[in-house]
């Protein structure tokens, strides 16, 4: 049992950190620190820098442009990326549809899609949730009917993150309405520019526009856009959701935010002394730091285990990472609210435009707090994660 990273791993950390210092655009970093939304251009610019370096799709197999890093290297890369902070690669392409395509897709699909995912030539979005299918995803109703050499798609998806930027969507569609609910679903990809696709924004409680409703009205999709086998989509979806593991705890994000809390709480005064020196505030912050340290160690245990024994089956420990990771992220945004106190109140619409350049650092704190309520809901709500632990770990 040994906590120390090897010399090579430490050198790798330095290399990664230096690369971020030299290459993340300053404005992108500033917006990340302040919890502002980035424009599409800012994100794509950064991802292409990353891809040029060969780190855009780091965890993919080498033959498709991956790095061949060890589990520990991936961990270090993610941690440094989150802590710098810089935007993480677009999960929908890089972590979700990419692995499904290189695992279940045919050669033609691999050639066609993978390089464009890596370079974000296509911005991908995820067509999973529907108005009536949230946690009970397998009840989804969006239909794909075979007509000649085409799929005809009708239905509605929702909570589609950044669909307003998207060129492509991967979509779970019902292809066999007579089969048991998990059995009749297929995994189909198509262009968001197709005729019959409508994107309607959903404004969230922070005032932002991250998610959308997406409507399909007789959308025609070439038959070869089916990934893998027909009616096997549920298996691919499960594979996809179990794939993203160690990043899910977002330890680096929370660490960066705690540093920011300390920096701000040292400046802002309450009762004639810095908020940081207020004992009740301090105790809450420390409690959060201890939880985060424990989470970091739990994550390292999962990483070390994967490194030694291979990835194998989805590790139920990832549910622990999701539950604790989301709770801690939420706590950090709550603590930021406490730091600024009454100055959380002034409201300003933010968005992808840069018109809020002149706002001071307080402007995004309340929206970020409101926005972060999502993290215990998305990606399998924390209640679903508890169901998974009860079933898969405790055998209940």
């Amino acid at each position: 049992m040994d906590l120390a990273f090897t010399k090579e791993e430490q050198a790798f950390r330095e290399e990664v950190r230096q690369f971020f210092k030299d290459n993340v655009p300053a404005e992108t970093r500033r917006k990340m620190v302040e919890g502002r939304h980035l424009s599409k251009d800012e994100m794509v610019t950064w991802w292409r820098i990353l891809n040029k370096k060969g780190w855009g799709v780091s965890h993919w197999p080498k033959e498709y442009g991956g790095t061949g890093w060890t589990s520990v290297q991936h961990y270090i890369f993610n941690e440094e990326l989150q802590a710098y902070p810089a935007p993480q690669p677009l999960a929908f392409g890089v972590s979700m549809v990419g692995p499904v395509i290189y695992t279940f897709g045919n050669e033609e699909q691999k050639k066609k899609y993978l390089p464009r995912i890596a370079n974000v030539d296509d911005w991908w979005c995820q067509g999973f949730s529907e108005p009536g299918s949230g946690s009970d995803l397998a009840s989804l109703k969006t239909k794909a009917e075979r007509r000649g050499d085409k799929w005809i798609i009708n239905g509605q998806k929702t909570w589609t993150t950044l669909a307003q930027h998207a060129d492509m969507i991967f979509c779970l569609c019902r292809t066999d309405p007579s089969a048991k609910k998990q059995m009749g679903i297929s995994f189909i990809v198509f262009s968001m520019k197709s005729k019959g696709v409508t994107v309607r924004p959903i404004q969230t409680i922070d005032g932002g526009h991250e998610v959308n409703e997406v409507f399909f009205d007789d959308v025609e999709v070439p038959i070869e856009n089916l990934i893998g086998e027909e009616n096997k989509g549920w298996d691919y979806a499960k594979f996809l959701l179990g794939n993203e593991r160690t990043g899910i705890a977002r330890v680096g994000v929370s660490k960066e935010r705690i540093r920011r809390i300390k920096e701000l709480a040292a400046k802002v005064e309450s009762g004639g002394r810095p908020v940081l020196e207020d004992p009740s505030f301090r105790e809450k912050l420390t409690a959060c730091e201890v939880e985060l340290k424990a989470l970091e160690l739990t994550q390292l245990r999962v990483v070390a285990d994967e490194g030694k024994h291979g990835k194998g089956k989805p590790n139920p420990a990832s549910s622990v990472l999701k539950i604790k990771g989301s709770e801690i992220q939420q706590t950090t945004t709550e603590l930021l609210m406490e730091v600024i106190g009454p100055f959380a109140a002034p409201y300003d619409i933010h968005g992808d435009d840069d018109s809020n350049e002149t706002m001071d650092w307080t402007a995004q704190i309340a929206p970020s707090y409101f926005n972060n309520r999502k993290v215990s809901i998305y990606g399998g709500s924390n209640e679903i994660q508890r169901n998974i632990i009860a079933k898969a770990v405790l055998g209940l």
């Binding site: 660490k255 030694k308 604790k324 009860a390 209940l396």
Partner: protein, 380 residues
Amino acid sequence: MDFDLTEEQRLLKDSIDGLLADAYDFDKRKLYMKEKGGWSQAIWSKLAEQGLLGLPFSEEDGGFGAGGVETMIVMEAMGRALVLEPYLATVVLSGGFLRHGGSAAQKAAHLPDIIDGSKTFAFAQLEKQSRYDLFDVATSAKKKGDGYVIDGEKFVVLNGENADTLIVTARTSGGQRDKSGIGLFIVPADAKGVTRKGYPTQDGLHAADITFTGVEVGADAAIGDAANALPLIERVVDEARIALCAEAVGLMDESLKTTVEYIKTRKQFGVAIGSFQSLQHRASDMFVALEQARSMSMFATMAAEFDDAKERATSIAAAKVQIGKSGKFVGQQAIQLHGGIGMTMEAKIGHYFKRLTMIESTFGDTDYHMRRVSEAGGLI
């Protein structure tokens, strides 16, 4: 970075688990409690036979030169089995003082007795006013000739009722809360002027309040520097905290296991109550709390080797915070999920809860260690 046990460590784990599986079910434990002093001499001898009492001592001293991970393995197993025998008081604490601060003569005089199981020890530190501050010492050790005369009162001395030998903190100079002027003395429990009032503790262990009235000891009774033993005391108490973290993980692990088994078999409304989602979610939260505690127990074990003293102390304090919180949560939920049966002396789950509860207030509770982490500037 590696969290796996070595082959040898795995063998150690199998060996202690095997020993306790045979010798220590809940019914046998009840019998051991009734033996003299509240624990089993036969079990203690078995632990000695298997080399477990000599684990952390160097080979020159007759031990096995094992490290913190080995102690973690043993303590976790002992937690799981709810062991009564005085391993913490004798091997971890008293053995730790001798190991890190004892002279060659002191080691030669006492370690063989610890290692072969013939004698047990106790650490007499807590005073009425000291609470968790190790430097708050009113008991005095006044120079007399070459030796010292010890006067004062110590409370809730774990294994104090049965120990053959006491290791006592006493002040050689300075005021009650001065950090310097504290000494550490080896005192035979039957020395003239030592009065012990023994009693069982809430968790079924035994402790004693001990009065020292004009107790005379020689110069060779002092472990290390009689004018400045606080660093040694802090170091060894930190090791005891780490050991308690591991014991607590064993307790929580077994508590969760027992609780899950119970809700799988207990039926109400015609079904196992474990099929109800509200109970499942509580059990899942217990698992989360346990895993966070396990991580911090491992972290504390490894932190003992950190070079930076402040980082070391802060990391161990943080672990004690996590253990305190997780232990309270897991213990309370375990009782709740057992329902009425969890309230009975007869069911074992309540005894796990009680031991977890006592650990929280041993060598600093959650609030105390939270404050220490805060004062050190946090962990990030």
